[in-house]
């Protein structure tokens, strides 16, 4: 979403006079780009912001931010700036830059540019007022856009990390041929529940499992949403040809299941994990014997 050569597209919601004023102050900011940028970089160092970055790095980023800032002022549209802010955040967050620093430097730039405008138009008080009327809302929107972009990027990174942690903490174990065990420990929120199901279904297919033992001994409590999810997991597994045995059902959880309308007699449940594995082996063993034509139809 960069700039188009030639006429730049401007926010059509702006009035003619605002556009003209912005064009004038943007010209000023572009003409004085070098000094203003240096002034800003100096103020950043003075305020002890971006200490995690080197001077060269700050200068390089400062140039991009400055140009994007001025461009946003000129066009009155903020998509490019938002995209840039997220991109910048993606690069500096791993460096340890914090939200207050990012907000800080943008506000500093706003001030440096405002002072420069004061300086240039101080002899014409009326014009100065009109220039500031055009500048202030835009500058504030810019600060907002950059800050929000940074925070969103941060949140996205945190979510990704949480996801990675979740995946690590819920392994599906293959203990025997055609038999999978999924021990669930701790608190399950709806998102984790969904991930568990997805992982389990993929594992059933990859391992060609015929029986799955889901052990919920380690689950303290379960609300009706998650209980529903457990039922759905059992049903989805069946669609993939796998039988599910649920073990470690506490009386509380059993009650929750009954409350949401689950017929426990239809669900394959066994008291503990060991018992569940034995039941699973029995199911698998039974099927193997059925196959055995040499035994002349002998049942296990």
């Amino acid at each position: 979403m960069g700039t188009v050569k030639g006429k730049k597209s401007v926010n059509p919601a702006m009035t003619e006079s605002t556009v003209a004023l912005l064009r004038e102050l943007v010209a000023h900011l572009r003409d004085n780009r070098t000094e203003l940028r240096e002034e800003w970089a100096r103020r950043i160092t003075e305020a002890r912001l971006l200490t995690a970055m080197t001077k060269e790095e700050i200068f390089a980023e400062a140039t991009s931010v400055y140009d994007n800032y001025v461009e946003a002022l000129e066009t009155g549209t903020f998509e490019a700036l938002q995209a840039y802010a997220r991109n910048l955040s993606e690069r500096i967050i791993p460096r340890g830059v914090e939200t207050d620093e990012v907000v800080g430097i943008v506000l500093l730039l706003r001030d440096v540019l405002a002072r420069s405008l004061f300086g240039k138009y101080r002899s014409d008080f009326d014009l100065l007022n009109r220039i500031l009327d055009a500048y202030e809302p835009a500058a504030n929107r810019i600060a907002n856009t950059v800050a929000v972009g940074f925070v969103q990027e941060r949140e996205r990174i945190i979510r990704e990390q949480q996801e990675a942690i979740r995946e690590l903490s819920t392994p599906v174990l293959q203990v025997r041929e055609r038999l999978l065990i999924l021990p669930i420990i701790g608190v399950i929120d709806p998102l984790r529940a969904r991930q568990l199901t997805e992982q389990l279904l993929q594992a059933i297919r990859a391992n060609r499992a015929r029986v799955v033992v889901i052990d919920i001994t380690g689950v303290a409590e379960m609300d009706s949403h998650v209980a529903n999810h457990l039922v759905q997991t059992v049903e989805a597994s069946r669609l993939l040809g796998a039988t599910v045995i649920v073990t470690g059902l506490s009386p509380d959880i059993a009650q929750t299941l009954v409350n949401i309308g689950v017929d426990l007699t239809k669900m394959n449940t066994v008291g503990d994990l060991q018992g569940g594995i034995e039941e699973a082996e029995r199911l698998l063993g039974y099927k193997v014997v059925m196959h055995d034509s040499d035994s002349g139809g002998k049942k296990s």
């Binding site: 279904l201 997991t233 989805a236 993939l240 040809g241 796998a242 196959h291 139809g297």
Partner: protein
């Protein structure tokens, strides 16, 4: 678009290759029922590996299919439901209740064999 149906000894294997319209589904159902009668097949496998969606219509038609084939003395197994598809089905409350399912063709055949020998014993 006709779904290819193969005859493998006592079984019929229908392998769906691409998304089916409602009409295609109904045609498949009727073709299988007719062939089961003609060949006196003992089992039918419908392979839905290529289907990226199994909605309520598909589910109803497959259940009708299994029921009608049962009336002709044969057993039906649906194989190859993708994990994503199974997940979507249960979330939307679309069930294949009373219809046998297996992971893939190999499992499906093993299942039919076991049902067959059990019936032979009876």
């Amino acid at each position: 678009m006709a779904v290819p149906i193969l005859k493998q000894s006592n079984y019929l294997i229908a392998t769906i290759q691409a998304a089916l319209t409602d009409q295609d589904f109904v045609q498949l159902r009727d073709a299988l029922v007719e062939k089961v009668g003609r060949f006196r097949s003992r089992g039918v496998i419908v392979d839905v590996t290529a289907l990226d969606v199994l909605d309520s219509f598909a589910s109803r038609t497959l259940r009708d299919l299994a029921y009608m084939i049962r009336l002709r003395g044969a057993h039906t197994v649906i194989v190859g439901i993708q994990p994503d598809v199974a997940f979507a089905m249960v979330q939307l409350g679309i069930t294949l209740a009373d219809v046998s399912t297996a992971l893939d063709l190999e499992e499906g055949l093993a299942f039919l064999d076991s049902v067959d020998s059990e019936q032979a014993r009876a």
